[in-house]
Symmetry: C2
Subunit: 251 residues, 2 copies
DNA sequence: CGAGCAGTTGATGAGCTTCAAAGGTAGTGG
DNA sequence: CCACTACCTTTGAAGCTCATCAACTGCTCG
């Protein structure tokens, strides 16, 4: 049995399922660990880590954190895809990132979350109470060092997205997006050429600062240029990586 | 005598002037310290800090770091305004931030800088060799902790800018920008109501993802709405903060 | 099989860019 | 001190990209 929609896990006791028995809860087996801040904890000390975290599953469309809610937890994504977004009062939405294994949610200096996060696919998360995390950092400084490195990476990704949003055309944005997803999948050891597009066209549009219609037209353009082929709406075969890469920079 | 243009300070021995005698080089006197990562170093240990850094001045339009160059240093801005930007091969530019006292430049996990930085006003900087910085972090973990906090802040600012670039109209962007500058000036203890606009219209345009013409027209619109008044082109009086704030969110 | 939603395609229009020129402002030299 | 020059900013007119509105297709799931 699975709950189809989860409430925000940020502050209230979540109805999200605890980890079922058919999957390991051991940090030693965690696929995401090498890419996450947990890589800063020595193998021999993983039990300390396990005592601090709660393993959670969230179904697609389930909320993980809500903008403005008290930031009591930090999360590590260990499987699946999460979208992180900000809203304007009139409903305009900007997705500021798609998170995957190894990424974190909820690094906040302030009291409350600066954004909302929601599962795109079935997602698996490790939840750290902020206080326990502080203790872990005290005990394993390299864990905090590692988080700084991840934050620096996030920052670089954010800056690339700013360049995209401020200065690229629709076609260039989509080309950039497809290569970004492909590269990331490769880094995570997942299939990188038929690129997986688990998110909807609306999500892609809200990430690229466009509308679904424009995203759809851009897909058609790339198809007509023989740069990609859509196996299904959620799987894109890249036919000419070089030409696509040229496109991302206006070539 | 002052050199009007400085080469990049990132890797080569800079022709930027060392700090002249009429200004203190002591960290104890540093105005930016409370807002910077140096706040993580106890007062009694400031001499260690002083031995590690080089104090630099850069004139307007002088380069500080160049995208792609080896990232051998990190910088702290202690006075003045710096613009940080990325370029596309065809010259399109996106300014990803205006930095002021307390902000850092050059947090990079990778080997080279991910962006360029250039002085807008006369700028004062502390330059940290990456190696010495590592030693400082070893010695003063709270300094690295503080840097993590600053990076988290940067990230939040970046995310706000993504929302602006992806989803706001020209008028909303300018309103957001003016309030942002005003708030920041206040936090730094500088005059916040006639907002200082040290950067050119072109710089503002490249920050907001617009053209100079559109920025100029947006200024005119805000003037006509009686929300602001331009004392000079580089000083904006905010006449109705509330209405302006409503505008930033589409109200 | 039909309902409903996601995605695609088409037609029109708005907002911003581009191209062009005039108005200001600051710095320079007589 | 003022005139001249050069650049920055503002304003105007036309064009283009993307948004909006609308219809259609195809897929998924009772």
């Amino acid at each position: 049995m699975t709950t189809s929609f989860s409430p925000s896990l940020g502050s209230s006791p979540p109805s999200a399922r605890a980890c079922p028995e058919d999957e390991s809860r051991l940090c030693a087996d965690c696929i995401a660990r090498p890419w996450s801040m947990c890589a800063g904890v020595p193998d021999s000390e993983l039990m300390t880590l396990e005592r601090a975290v709660t393993d959670l599953h969230v179904d697609p469309r389930g909320a993980i954190v809500d903008e403005g809610e008290p930031a009591q937890h930090m999360f590590n994504v260990t499987a699946g895809t999460v979208k992180v977004y900000k809203l304007l009062p009139d409903g305009r939405r900007q997705i500021i990132g798609f998170l995957m294994a190894g990424d974190f949610i909820g690094l906040a200096v302030r009291q409350s979350y600066a954004y909302s996060a929601e599962a795109v696919t079935p997602v698996r998360l490790c939840r750290f109470p902020r206080k326990k995390l502080e203790e872990l950092f005290e005990r394993y400084p390299s864990m905090e060092k590692r988080l700084l490195g991840l934050a620096a990476n996030e920052l670089a990704v954010a800056q690339d997205l700013m360049l995209l949003l401020g200065r690229k055309t629709a076609k260039e944005r989509l080309a950039t997006f497809l290569l970004m997803l492909s590269d990331r999948a490769r880094r995570l050891g997942m299939p990188s050429n038929p690129v997986a597009l688990p998110m909807s066209r609306t999500d892609i549009a809200d990430y690229l600062g466009l509308t679904t219609e424009t995203v759809s037209r851009a897909f058609t353009q790339l198809k007509n240029l023989k740069l990609i082929r859509l196996e299904t709406t959620s799987q894109a075969q890249i036919l000419d990586t070089e030409a696509l890469r040229d496109l991302t920079e206006g070539g």
